[in-house]
């Protein structure tokens, strides 16, 4: 994993510097600035030094936990990341939980009742689910459910009526801890639409994967044996088939984490959800070198760690490769 991480850091570092346009010129805006002032600012940010020196300085700082300072806000990148990350995690966790809790049972039902209209409807819906552009889907949901019906709030994480200092950064937990009546309900209602939008694709993929994995397993000999032994169908499905069917599904879930983070970018933009997706996109546009570098590194690190966990989990539950 270490060589990959170093490779990632080199990519993150060089990519941002390959971007045309200059954060200093962007700061100057239409007014522009004199050549000496430009040089002065170059020196201030360390841009005038050769690239490998800049990279070396960056890596040494990194090892001490310093991810650099945002050119735009002048605040440490790590601090900004840690403040915004819980919002993205909360949304992503809710989305993946919904995707699994709804997707797996749907996939199982579809597999068990293969060929029925239930199967066709579920699979059809899943197909539509991952065929649509989620930013469009999100906008339509807002207009319909928040605008026309007024059932859900329009944006943000919690109603402005509630004000409490963040403890964990997770609005659901913090609202419970605050003890304010109705805060939890408000936090929950704000999560509904963004979660639905973000969960759509993983849900569809997981449902389909579960179904095909189940079908494969249901046709296996040992299932037929269990059935012929007279075991009740539910036990057959629940115990034997499902456990084995879930193995490839776990891998799929792991892969969906990357999809979730990508989807978070679009979802956060539309719902004004204060997470890292929006933060990263804005920083690319503003050429905030430190933030893009640090952000890419942190996100890549998280994805790598999640993949590692998934691999380990997979190894644990798949008896065939346990040893």
């Amino acid at each position: 994993m270490i060589p990959t991480f170093i490779g990632v850091s080199i990519v993150a570092f060089s990519f941002i510097r390959l971007l045309p346009g200059d954060p200093i010129m962007l700061l100057a805006g239409e007014r522009g600035m004199s050549e000496e002032r430009y040089q002065q600012l170059q020196a201030l940010y360390g841009f005038d030094q050769p690239l490998f020196v800049q990279y070396f300085n960056y890596m040494t700082d990194l090892l001490q936990g310093d991810f650099g300072t945002s050119i735009v806000t002048k605040r440490p990148v790590l601090q900004e990341f840690l403040t915004l990350f819980p919002a993205t995690i909360e949304l992503s966790l809710c989305a993946i939980i919904v995707a699994i809790a709804v997707g797996v049972p749907l996939g199982v039902i579809a597999a068990v009742r293969r060929g029925s209209w239930l199967d066709q409807t579920v699979m059809g819906a899943a197909l539509v689910g991952y065929s649509m552009p989620i930013f469009w889907w999100g906008l339509l949901l807002i207009i319909f459910f928040s605008g026309i019906l007024g059932w859900t709030p329009v944006s943000g994480r919690i109603s402005l009526l509630y004000f409490f200092p963040p403890v964990t950064g997770f609005m659901l937990i913090d609202s419970l801890l605050s003890g304010q009546a109705g805060a939890f309900k408000s936090a929950l209602s704000h999560l509904i639409l963004p979660t639905i939008v973000l969960a759509t694709i993983p849900l569809a993929v997981i449902a389909r994967q579960t179904r095909s994995a189940m079908l494969e397993v249901l046709g296996e000999d040992y299932v037929r044996t269990a059935r012929s032994k007279g075991l009740p169908p539910r036990r057959v499905i629940g115990l034997h088939a499902l456990r084995n069917a879930l193995i490839p599904v776990v891998t799929t879930i792991g892969l969906q984490v990357g999809v979730l983070l990508a989807g978070a970018i679009l979802t956060e933009t539309i719902f004004s959800w204060p997470g890292i997706g929006k933060w990263m996109v804005d920083s690319v546009f503003k050429r905030d070198y430190a933030v893009v570098q640090g952000g890419l590194l942190l996100i890549a690190a998280i994805i790598m760690i999640v993949n590692l966990i998934v691999d380990v989990l997979y190894g644990l539950i798949n008896p065939r490769i346990r040893h």
């Binding site: 490779g7 990632v8 065929s131 649509m132 552009p133 469009w136 889907w137 990508a262 970018i265 996109v281």
Partner: protein, 311 residues
Amino acid sequence: MTSTNTKDPNAAVGLEGGTVIAVTRRARLAEFWYYFSQNRGAVIGLYVFLAIVAIALLAPLIAPHSPSLQNRGFFLLPPVWQEGGNWSFLLGTDAVGRDVLSRLIYGARFSLFIGVVVVSVAVSVGILVGLIAGYFRGAVDTVIMRVMDIILAFPSLLLALVLVAILGPGLVNAMIAIALVQQPHYVRLTRAAVMSEKGRDYVTAARVAGAGNIRLMFKTILPNCTAPLIVQAALSFSTAILDAAALGFLGMGAQPPTPEWGTMLAEAREFILRAWWVVTFPGLAILITVLAINLMGDGLRDALDPKLKRS
């Protein structure tokens, strides 16, 4: 991985067997079509897709207006069935008076173009790299897989966004970025297939018969790995269209006034409450196209993969 029950030994070894191979191919095609047509959804998908291709090709003939013609008196007209609509602009007009229907029709060209280019580039480069990695193993393999791991460590949209920002916003650069981001899928797929085929008897036989590395890679092993690649290609096609639309939505894809569906959505964002048709129709167009391709992809997978033929 192998999709046929019987393999003509001539075909497998890559010797030109003339009519023998043709028959086998025709038989394979017929068998493929039989299984494919079993899946009603896939067939519908195929017809819809063909219709879209036809629309794209015939665009200059069927579009009522030019997609870039600004009709100065007709800004933001609603679709014909709403009050204020106009029969010459069936689906309404956009902010500079351009006909939405015509732009959708021409937009099909761009979406298909994006799909074809991205898939071709991703497939050809990905297969090549995967073949090399799987065939030669060793240090080459390790380096290639590391690079793929690095690409996979970033969320695809973010990586594509940064790449496009580096290359400059535009359709071509967006396609390059998306193709690059899809590399790991093809490389891994090809590599895994190659590694598992490499040990088979027919490959050893071919090598013994004197076939060189290149011939072995391309003519012997590759043809037998095509099934999952085809399925992946179908999936990539639809992913490419969605990713290009997302990049367009963020302002980094095709630039206005190109009538690409994602770009049309980006331009229309500010009209979402006032002129719903400028937002809804491009999104629907994307949805229908991608749905059709995914339906086909399902059918392809079912038809090509023997283990799942039952579903």
